[in-house]
Amino acid sequence: MHQENIHNYLRSYFLANDCRILQEKPGLLNVQLTIELDKELMNRPFYWHYLEKTGGTPRPMTLTLITNQNIEENGEFVHFGAPRLHQIFSSTKKLASSIRLYEDVQTSYQQQYPLHPWLGLNIKISYQCDRKKHRLLSLGLHLVSGAVVDDFHNLLLKKALTPKIPDYAFTVTPIIKPESGLKRLEGVVEMLLAKEDVQWAEEARLRWASDQHLLDQFYQGNTNDQRYEVEKEALRKQYEPTITAEIINGGIFHLVPGIESQPYPT
């Protein structure tokens, strides 16, 4: 992540959280936190507790974040490894866990138009043994026909979306309930994974078996030894291949019909 990306990210984050930007220049951002963000980021529960007890005037803090090391001003240097950035990443995820949006279409004749309901999920798959990697998936499920679309998020980025239903739009009632929609997408993920190459997991199991073999030799059948059990369990934790799916965020999207006719080949 480049330093300019980080700057832009921070800027968007604070603006999206209704913070006022007090000063901005390339590589520097000075923001006035809201009460909510102060509580979210500044880790001073005692102050806020005290304030609520005494009824004083809340004074949320300001933050100066520097993304260009050459700037000689007081502030926190934020880079890709900075704890502050990762705190803000996590905060973003927490604050943006689920959403409902409507597609906004400019109609010239004040014509009413239908919007179809979609369930969209952004999913992070973790493949873990003694190594780890991720795969991100963005799936959309058409809650009328059951069609599934891949790369759903990028599709959404091309649309004008609004949190309130537009004046001339009306929504079509879903046939698939969100709850069963979630189940269906879970099934899709499983199906996708079943098609993947599992060599990594097989190799991890071989490494595991080989270390387990050495361990057995070392204890020479003396498997009652407590140390043997400790080591054996440690090997399982080190090597056992697992795949986990975590939903980053998701929501209900009411969209102009059309995309469901080019579904993802499942």
Binding site: M1, Y9, S12, Y13, A16, H79, F80, G81, P83, F89, T92, K93, L95, A96, S97, S98, I99, R100, N122, K124, S126, Y127, Q128, R131, K132, K133, H134, L136, P163, P178, L182, V189, E190, W200, A201, E202, D211, L214, L215, D216, Q217, F218, Y219, Q220, R227, V230, E231, K237, Q238, Y239, P241, T242, I243, T244, E246, I247, I248, N249, G251, I252
Partner: protein, 557 residues
Amino acid sequence: MLKTELQFNQEWTNHFLKQIDEDGPWANWELFKLAIEAENHRAIPSFTGLQAPSHLPHLTPHPYQLEAARRVVEDMNGKAILADEVGLGKTIEAGLIIKEYMIRGLVKKVLILVPASLVSQWAIELNTKFYIPAVVQRKSYVWDQCDVVVSSIDTAKREPHRSIVYEQQYDMVIIDEAHRLKNSRTKNYEFVQHLPKKFCLLLTATPVQNRLDEVFNLVSLLKPGHLGSFENFEKDYKGKEKNPEDEERLRTLIQKVMVRNRREDTGMDWPERIVKTIPITFSPEEEDLYRSVEALKKEPISTRSQFSIITLLREICSSREAAYMTLKKMLEKEALDEVTRAFIHSLIKKIEGVSTNSKAQKALELIQSIEGKVIIFTEYRATQLYLQWFLKEHGITSVPFRGGFKRGKKDWMRELFKNHAKVLIATEAGGEGINLQFCQHVINYDLPWNPMRIEQRIGRIHRLGQEGDVHIYNFATKHTVEEHILTLLYEKIQLFESVIGQLDEILTRLGMRDIEKHISDILLHSESEGEIRIKMDNMKELINYQKEDSDASRKYS
């Protein structure tokens, strides 16, 4: 083929369904998009390669350090002995590896066990260089509440800590100065052996200090069975003729779990080591004292055996104070016959007659001629105290340094030396684990007989961050045991200039790990100077022969 099970986390699902029921509150679209952007940056696309460097813009690791980290993660599955020579930055390698696993979400809880004197240094380095929130274990609750804990092994192994430590589910265990765990019968070894080690790093600059079974113990701690069971190891490698094939096999096995960088392999320009021998001439009183002890070798065994002659001789070369302490301790022993007691008294009388210390005098002159800071290493506490007093008499400020100092005190003494004093006087045990690269001069006031210890000393200053050349002054009193050691052993094998890792190998191969004992035997059991010289020459030849051999094979590898 076994199926790898997929686990879906349900937490989000439940929350989402509740929000649908309650019709919100819903997130804002901007933040929603940002969350995806953040995940795109955080997601790790591949099992291989290092993520850590992109998280550490302030750190510029050397290529060999990055390669070490990569090898540990990719080739050694996260269990390794990091055995770079002193001063090459094993801590940086360890930090890179911890960071890599933390970024990948494979490691959350880390236990770092280090000598007490290094606890705060480790915590500071991990926090400032790696943004790893390592916490020094000072209160009991730290074990439970902090994910990355730095502690001394002596604290951790004691109750009530021990039980709490065992309750934690550590993903990674790091042990610094791990050569201290070479003996499998110690409490420390047993403590570490019972720790679950999903990932584990053992750090040591001297992986094979003495014997083969020590390597066995270290490797077995990391990866039990890698060198077979103890019985098989004994059978295969010990007590029989050295078989080159067996040795090669062992070497290959060890290399699978060990990263060992040597200065010369790093491809970097290291500051030079400039070594000078400073001969010392005894004053007549000192000479007389020395010869009286030496003459004991000719006494009948009953008298002779009461004295540790070699120790006394070495002490006299250091300071009369050091010798005095030993004699005083002997007098305190009850079972001492009259002859011996009388002899000790006569020696003490001679000590009292010694009015100067020729070596200290020489050290003073040298220190006065040096512009920068100087470290003096001595083997004896009494000498350390004496030198401090002596230098003060001549207006030179010095700071003492010992292994026994508490962690805080060591850091404090280092700062004092850096900012306020000209000289640091360290005893042997103090050498480990402090970094003094701001200093360029080392006086080996008396020489340890184990060459590995010399390297530990020099490594304090000849390390990453040292910008100038390193000057090493070896003091040796003429016509004494010191001269034998220095001229016949150290100089001829060019120990100071050459690289210790090599010597380590050579001595192992020769079965001479316990070189101190060999020398001691030669000195004690030789009838004449000539015999000592011949025997020492023999030893030297043997070592040099092996060294050329190893130089040659290195060229081809």
